[in-house]
Amino acid sequence: MGRKLLTGMLLAVLCPFFYLQAFRGVSENARPKTHMVQIVRMQFIPAVLSVNKGDSVVFLNKDLVNHNATERTAGKWQSPTLRPGDSWRMVVTSSADYYCTFHPGMKGKLEVARATAKTRKKK
């Protein structure tokens, strides 16, 4: 009983959010955004970033040492070596797992939102 009520309430709260999100998707497609990934204390922050196709991502190295961002599976793209204070901008065309070749433990992910307003309605 209590669980059902809770789920209902949760859905009620989230529904308008999804609805708005669908419209945001449309407007964002029209105007590409710029996102920031900061490199701090040997980490990409945020480690997972959702973007729309055509958006830009700026990698900014705020750490003590050099880093880079390299697409993992086929090395499809790679930033130049980013010294402390350096930044690099890239236009995102597809989802990607990336890492730093200097520090293989440093990992990040770019997720291109697949769901547009149309596919959302189907759901």
Binding site: M42, L64, V65, P84, F102, H103, M106
Partner: protein
């Protein structure tokens, strides 16, 4: 109903037991590896090394002494990496060594700049001298090896060395540092030391598989 609950409880208990004992074995194993490595690099006898170990846990260091230890500790890893560049044929070991040189040099540069700004002269001390002596021993041990035996010994050294340096920075240097900027720099280098340790451990696991 009641019976199934007890079975679940028992199964959970068993699972926990297995997990805990697994971790204990793992911890002991890594501990042992560290010990054998130390015995290999310093043959000065057990009693002396235990004395030194307990001595440097409650060691008092001034800021100029901490600066010296920081520079020496980073320089030692650069020296080992340069030796690896001369000796190894393995691309991954080569890449690791290059990262060690670039990163530890960056830390030395930061420390040197800070020391200059604070108008402090790094001062040699018991701990920095001990690091030097240990380093001379491990360099000698590594120079005598070649091929994949060298690669393994070098990576083993890097695992042990980074563990030791992390512990020194955390337990001796940071607690003793008086200047706030020096303390902050020491705290800032910990994540890269941990990343290096992780990287070395990753290479070590690869060797274990081969």
């Amino acid at each position: 109903m009641k019976r199934s609950k007890t079975i679940i409880a028992r199964a959970t208990g068993l699972l926990l037991c297995v997990l805990i004992s697994g971790f204990t074995v793992l911890a002991q194993h890594t501990g042992q590896q560290g010990n054998t490595q130390k015995q290999g690099t310093q043959k000065q006898g057990k009693s002396k090394s235990t004395q030194q170990k307990s001595a440097h846990q409650n060691m008092k260091l001034t800021d100029p002494e901490i600066a010296s230890v920081a520079v020496v500790a980073n320089q030692i890893d650069i020296d080992h990496a340069r030796l690896a560049q001369e000796k190894t044929q393995n691309t991954e070991v080569l890449n690791f060594a290059q990262t060690m040189i670039t990163d530890h040099q960056a830390v030395i540069d930061q420390a040197t700049a800070l020391v200059k700004k604070l108008n402090v002269t790094p001062k040699e001390n018991q701990l920095s001298r001990k690091l030097q002596t240990d380093s001379e021993n491990s360099m000698k041990m590594l120079r005598a090896k070649s091929g994949s035996a060298f690669d393994q010994a070098y990576i083993d050294h890097e695992v042990t060395y980074h563990k030791a340096v992390i512990s020194t920075v955390e337990n001796t240097l940071i607690p003793n540092a008086k200047n706030a900027e020096l303390k902050a720099l020491l705290q800032n280098i910990l994540p890269s030391l941990r990343a290096h340790l992780e990287h070395a451990q990753m290479l070590k696991t690869q060797y274990a598989k081969e």
